[in-house]
């Protein structure tokens, strides 16, 4: 479970995240929905401790992620936005490297690697170097690598961005499966359909603030729009309407 309260982050004069508060439950898929530049990636980066918030609190399974970032990181599986791979290492070696850094080794690591390679249908590419992998294959490696230590909480930053239909489906299948296993999945996207198809709960972010929250149905009711996309547009442009 991830609990975020009053998170703030400023870059120079720009406030990227301005008091974001939400909770992502176990056994549920929470969608972080917002237009580009809304502060989704910055929020996630603070969650997985590569950025330090200016203020606010982050709890990962009741661990204070700001005071003990490494303990929190041990309970997180992360697929960052625009992540990179090592072109000279094979897919399997990527999993092993991160698994070892998480303290898994020997037969346990081999077993876990095999499970993930099977799960993501990666056996054909497992022992190939990742240079020249397609976008879908790279995403699978990134995803498998994020899950190698069996994390209770999974953060995915725009995981389906630019993926073809088949790969998108594979990602969705994994995400649903993680939910069934009782994990907490937090998933950011700017694509409406994506979020409405998958998520149990949606947090809409615009201009660094939470502008709406709830199940897809709640949001429709709240905004008075039947169509979730219209609801999203209505929420995302609340204060922008004044300026434009």
């Amino acid at each position: 479970m991830i609990r975020v309260e009053q998170l703030r982050k400023q870059f120079g004069s720009v406030t990227a995240v301005n008091g974001v508060t939400f909770t992502a439950e176990n056994g549920a898929i929470t969608g972080l929905l917002g237009p580009n530049g809304a502060g989704k990636t910055t929020t996630l980066r603070m969650l997985y401790s590569v950025m330090r918030p200016d203020s606010g609190s982050i709890k990962v399974d009741d661990i204070d992620a700001i005071a003990s970032p490494h303990d929190a990181q041990g309970r997180l599986g992360v697929l960052p936005d625009g992540f990179g791979l090592y072109p000279r290492l094979t897919a399997r070696e990527h999993l092993e490297y991160f698994g070892e850094l998480h303290g898994i080794s020997g037969p346990a690591l081999r077993q876990r690697t095999k499970e993930l390679l099977d799960l993501l249908d990666m056996n054909a590419i497992a022992d190939r170097r990742t240079a020249g992998f397609s976008h879908g294959e790279r995403t699978k490696v990134g995803l498998a690598r994020a899950l190698v230590h069996n994390p209770q909480n999974v953060l995915l930053d725009e995981p389906t961005n630019g993926l073809d239909v088949m790969s998108t489906r594979a990602v969705r299948t994994i995400v649903r499966r993680l939910k069934e296993e009782g994990r907490c999945v937090l998933f950011s996207s700017h694509v409406m359909q994506e979020v409405s198809a998958l998520c149990d709960s949606i947090v809409v972010i615009a201009h660094g603030q939470v502008v709406g929250r709830g199940s897809p149905d709640d949001l429709r009711q709240h905004t008075g729009h039947d169509n979730l996309e219209d609801a999203f547009v209505a929420l995302a442009s609340v204060d922008r309407g004044v300026r434009e």
Partner: protein, 395 residues
């Protein structure tokens, strides 16, 4: 986070970086190149010196107009190593086009002037901008002067004057730049090449694991792993330092094998790197590898891109050359402050060790201590840079 766990994680990072770079052809070639370039240059230069020494004795002299001064030509022919050949049609053209290194022109009226005991003109055609021909031109010039002096003496004797009256001065050349000394000077480059190997050997890993990691976007996912930044930086630094140490070792071994294939005996030079030198070389060079790898990791982390990092490395690589070049120009002493200077200390130590005088153990300890402290500070700084959001995400 326990120390044991951090150490284990450092070892994991080291192993990954080494495995990764062993698959990098460019990295491997840069190591092979850095390891072998020094010994190759030394071998090449030594052979040149030996050849030059042999060549200077052998001189081919094209003479135009041999028929006008048969006595002179005969005399030249009798000098050792001199080979007289018929001169080309246009000697100046031939020398200018480098077909000949020199030519002697004997004018038609040579015999007439000569027999009248007037100064007879001889022309030497040479290109003074050609350094390689200079020793032979000089030799021919000296031979002709010697011939002139002999004839002059004979004429004075014939007139009842002592030849020494016309020779108020005797000039003696004492040539210091002998072949031996030139060869010995080349060998003084060995410390520099050993240091260069250390410097270049770690460069590719240091660049690829910092600037390269950032540019590929693989740094962010790496930092999501639960470990202090010092673990990642320490692992990357140690991997680069290990590669540097291996390069240093290989160059040393090559430099030790090399003299066996060089004509050192022929030039009267005694030089060998034996097992007794190896501890000294290791003690001097390996701590330097820790320092150079730390410096390269720090610079690679600061660079905005892989390209930028590489251009900085090109400048950094001059560092180990500075003491080498200075050392070749000015003889350096053994002042204590030298051992306490990061790149200079190892250089002075290596020079001493290879020169056959083993420095005091304290000198080694000071030099190693300074390198290690400087490396630790740089690694600490790099770890701080790895905390910075500007470094992690800034491109």
């Amino acid at each position: 986070m326990s120390v044991a766990r951090s150490l284990r994680q450092i070892a994991i990072v080291v192993r990954k970086e080494l495995k990764d770079s062993l698959r990098d052809r460019r990295a491997l070639w840069s190591i092979v190149f850095s390891v072998s370039i020094g010994p190759m240059i030394i071998g090449f230069m030594m052979n040149r010196v030996a050849d030059r020494q042999r060549e200077a004795e052998q001189v081919r002299v094209p003479v135009v107009g041999t028929q006008y001064a048969p006595a002179l030509v005969d005399w030249l022919r009798q000098q050792s190593g001199v080979q007289i050949v018929e001169g080309p049609q246009n000697p100046e053209e031939a020398v200018r086009n480098q077909e000949e290194e020199l030519a002697i022109i004997i004018p038609k009226d040579f015999a007439k002037t000569f027999n009248q005991s007037k100064p007879a003109v001889l022309q030497i055609v040479a290109d003074s901008s050609r350094n390689d021909a200079r020793p032979r031109v000089e030799r021919v010039r000296r031979l002709l002067q010697q011939y002139g002096a002999e004839i002059g003496s004979l004429r004075l004797i014939a007139r009842g004057v002592s030849p020494s009256a016309s020779q108020p001065l005797v000039l003696e050349d004492i040539e210091v730049s002998t072949a031996q000394q030139r060869a010995a000077q080349i060998l003084t480059f060995i410390p520099m090449f050993i240091m260069m190997a250390g410097f270049v050997g770690g460069m590719q890993i240091a660049t690829d694991s910092t600037a390269g990691e950032r540019e590929r976007g693989s740094l962010e996912p790496l930092l999501v792993n639960p470990a202090p930044r010092l673990v990642f930086v320490g692992g990357k630094w140690l991997a680069a330092a290990l590669a540097a140490m291996v390069s240093t070792g290989l160059t040393t071994v090559l430099c030790a094998i090399l003299p066996r294939f060089l004509p050192l005996e022929e030039m009267g030079i005694r030089f060998r790197i034996g097992p007794e030198h190896l501890t000294g070389i290791i003690g001097a060079a390996l701590p330097m590898c820790l320092f150079s790898a730390a410096l390269q990791s720090a610079v690679g982390t600061l660079a905005r891109s892989f390209k930028e990092a590489q251009s900085y490395m090109g400048v950094l690589v001059l560092m180990p050359m500075i003491p080498g070049v200075l050392g070749a120009l000015y003889p350096m002493g053994n002042a204590p402050w030298m051992y306490a200077t990061p790149m200079l200390g190892p250089y002075v130590l290596l020079t001493n060790v290879l020169g056959g005088q083993t420095p005091a153990i304290n000198a080694f300890l000071i030099s190693a201590g300074i390198s290690i402290v400087a490396a630790a500070i740089l690694v600490r700084i790099t770890a701080t840079l790895f905390e910075s959001e500007r470094i992690i995400f800034g491109r």
